[in-house]
């Protein structure tokens, strides 16, 4: 699937968001080159979602600017931005029985004028997006009655149907099973688009992102290649956990193992590809 538009350069310039007297995002600057995939990590409440919301025009920054190819996203018509930047949000419950097809078809809206119907191209794009995310069989099912993982995949399909050169994804792997987590992130890579992905799973972030940006208390504490950023020291500081980082023997990606505290501590593997060996090691379930 080749997107219509070329990957954009996304840039946050000293973005701050203050809401209800609290500073949620504090002077964050971030440069994402065209076709680069940047992982946004950090503990709960670090400001990941808030920062992303300023990118897709859901929340105006209190100060600072968000630029796409040098253009302030808050100074262009929303529709024009939506043709170049798509967002995958965390799903919200709806009261209306939209079908999966209806939801994915919404992705075509920014490309349409009033009274303009879906043409063959739109239908092809919608079908392709449904297929890419493995939800074609659910096309006629009501969105509200899907499982969390299925909903998440449908929302990714909607962003795909938007055919943009830039993607903003807010924890797209939430609720997804192992296979679909990998599939979704692989898909983002394969699209060759610029992407900013908020992720909780550090090993996934390390495996799929060119660079990682660590947020803590609304500020950027580190940005760089996964191997350079994800260090035991940083993890201890940001997450308050004792972790070991090793290079994965087969992928070369940093592999993080969090050690649960106490003298009888047993390693808890976060790595999904290789369960820890030993008598107590978890067996693969699939």
């Amino acid at each position: 699937m080749i997107p219509d538009t070329t990957p954009g350069a996304l840039r946050a310039e000293a973005v701050s968001v203050v809401a209800g007297g609290r500073t949620l995002v504090d002077g964050v600057s971030l440069d994402v080159a065209p076709a680069e995939v940047v992982g946004l990590v950090g503990p709960n409440g670090a400001g990941k979602s808030t920062l992303l919301r300023t990118f897709y025009r859901a929340l105006r920054p209190t100060s600072g600017r968000v630029l796409l190819d040098g253009e302030d996203v808050w100074r262009m018509p929303g529709k024009r931005l939506a043709r170049r930047l798509a967002a995958v949000l965390q799903e919200t419950a709806g009261e209306f029985e939209l079908t999966v097809h209806d939801v994915v078809a919404m992705g075509r809206t920014p490309h349409k004028r009033a009274f303009q119907g879906d043409d063959a191209t739109d239908r092809d794009i919608i079908t392709a997006a449904l297929g890419e995310l493995d939800v074609a069989g659910l096309a006629r099912a009501p969105f509200d009655r899907l499982s969390g993982g299925e909903k998440q995949r449908v929302l990714i399909a909607r962003a795909l149907a938007q055919r943009t050169g830039t993607l903003v994804l807010d924890e797209p792997t939430n609720h997804l099973d192992l296979r679909h987590q990998i599939d979704a992130l692989r898909l983002v890579r394969r699209l060759g688009v610029t992407a900013v992905i908020a992720l909780h799973d550090l090993n996934l972030a390390a495996a799929f992102c060119d660079r990682i940006c660590v947020l803590h208390g609304g500020r950027v504490v580190a940005t760089g290649p996964p191997g350079r950023v994800l260090t035991p020291r940083l993890l201890a500081e940001v997450y308050q956990v004792d972790a070991e980082v090793a290079e994965h023997p087969r992928t070369g990606a940093p592999q993080i193992t969090v050690l649960t505290g106490g003298p009888s501590a047993r390693p808890v593997a976060l790595d999904t590809a290789r369960p820890p060996a030993g008598p107590e090691g978890r067996e693969p379930t699939a």
């Binding site: 859901a58 939506a82 949000l89 919200t92 209306f96 939209l98 919404m106 809206t109 349409k112 096309a139």
Partner: protein, 362 residues
């Protein structure tokens, strides 16, 4: 690998019955059927009354009026007068009001993203009622025939704007706050309207205003049809043009913004449009409840929630429903007439409760 196959199997199995329920009925036949329903209801509405006129004669008269060559006149001039000047305008107005209420209900439900929204629930109808009652009670005729609809529009818009800003305090508007503000506003405005009517000294006026507050279409003449007809026709055309943005709102404010919609501006514009439609409707028919609540739900069950499919169907179903309801209101206890608002509430309330229970059970 077996795990994956199993997962896919389960997924497809679940999609099966849902698919049948949602798109088992093709769209075009549904639309044609609803159109036929409107015509049948209209024919029955014109035929029934103190003087019964057979259906073929009804159509003969109508076609003859359209073009003299289309039908040979075999009827008395009195019958022609009854059809053309008495019953046709009333049936047309019923259709216009029913379609308008259904379409406005559907738009409001999307705008506030709440399936319980209705022109009455958000205080729009009550606002329009206050505006219109003011005109009736104080004999305000500054704008001639436009006084009543204009006052009703102002009332409706004022109520909606007040509700909007009450709900928006703090920069953001939540659906819960909006609906609560709407309900409170509706109560207050209804009380104001009642107060105005009760304290009005002229018993004749009180009688007229009260009857009109219950919702009724008695005594409709051609002169009152044009304004609401134009407003509903234009309003519906505009709504059909914004079906896609309306769909986006169903996905939530955040998603709508991400898909390029300026949510606040769009909502403000459509609130004004809906207030305009409801104002002109309430000015001629009074508050007729439940049409705007029930019709959208029935239509969504039939053709799904996509507004491109649902809006035209809602207009047709609303028209057919109100024409039928008015027919019943005229004929059930002849020679007396029941205000049609009472009938729609009697039919609509239980239907809605049944719908809710059904939804909860699934």
């Amino acid at each position: 690998m077996t795990g994956l196959t199993e997962a896919t199997g389960e997924v497809t199995g679940r999609a099966g019955p849902e698919a049948a329920r949602h798109h088992g009925i093709p769209y075009l036949p549904v639309l044609v059927l609803l159109g036929a329903l409107v015509l049948v209801a209209a024919t029955a509405g014109i035929a029934a009354g103190s003087i019964r006129i057979p259906a073929d004669q009804v159509w003969g008269i109508l076609l003859h009026r359209l073009h003299p060559a289309l039908a040979e006149p075999t009827w008395s001039p009195v019958r022609e007068t009854i059809v053309i000047d008495v019953r046709l305008p009333r049936v047309l107005l019923c259709g216009v009001v029913g379609a308008g209420l259904a379409v406005c209900g559907m738009a409001l439900q999307a705008l506030v993203r709440n399936p319980l929204a209705d022109p009455m629930l958000l205080g729009v109808s009550s606002g329009a009622t206050v505006g219109a009652v003011l005109v009736v009670v104080f004999n305000l005729t500054l704008f001639g025939m436009f006084s009543l609809p204009l006052a009703a529009f102002c009332g409706a818009l004022a109520a909606l704007v007040a509700v909007y800003f009450l709900a928006r305090s703090g920069g953001r508007m939540t659906t819960v706050r909006l609906v609560l503000a709407g309900v409170a506003m509706a109560e207050v405005l209804s009380a104001v309207a009642s107060f105005l009517v009760v304290t009005s000294d002229d018993p004749h006026k009180t009688q007229a205003a009260l009857r009109w507050m219950l919702g009724g279409l008695a005594g409709t003449t051609w002169t009152v049809v044009w304004i609401p007809a134009a407003a509903v026709l234009l309003g519906t055309a505009v709504l059909l043009g914004v079906c896609r943005p309306l769909n986006l709102l169903l996905a939530g404010e955040e998603a709508a913004a991400a898909l390029g919609l300026d949510v606040h501006r769009f909502r403000a514009a459509l609130f004004t449009l809906v207030a305009l439609m409801i104002g002109t409707i309430v000015a001629v028919s009074g508050s007729i409840g439940f049409v705007g609540l029930i019709m959208p739900h029935v239509v969504r069950l039939l053709v799904g929630a996509d507004h491109r499919r649902a809006l035209p169907a809602a207009a047709l179903l609303g028209a057919a429903f109100l024409i039928t309801a008015d027919l019943a209101a005229r004929t059930l206890i002849t020679p007396e007439e029941i205000p049609v608002g009472i009938l729609t509430a009697l039919v609509g309330g239980p239907f809605f409760l049944w719908l809710m229970r059904r939804k909860a059970a699934r």
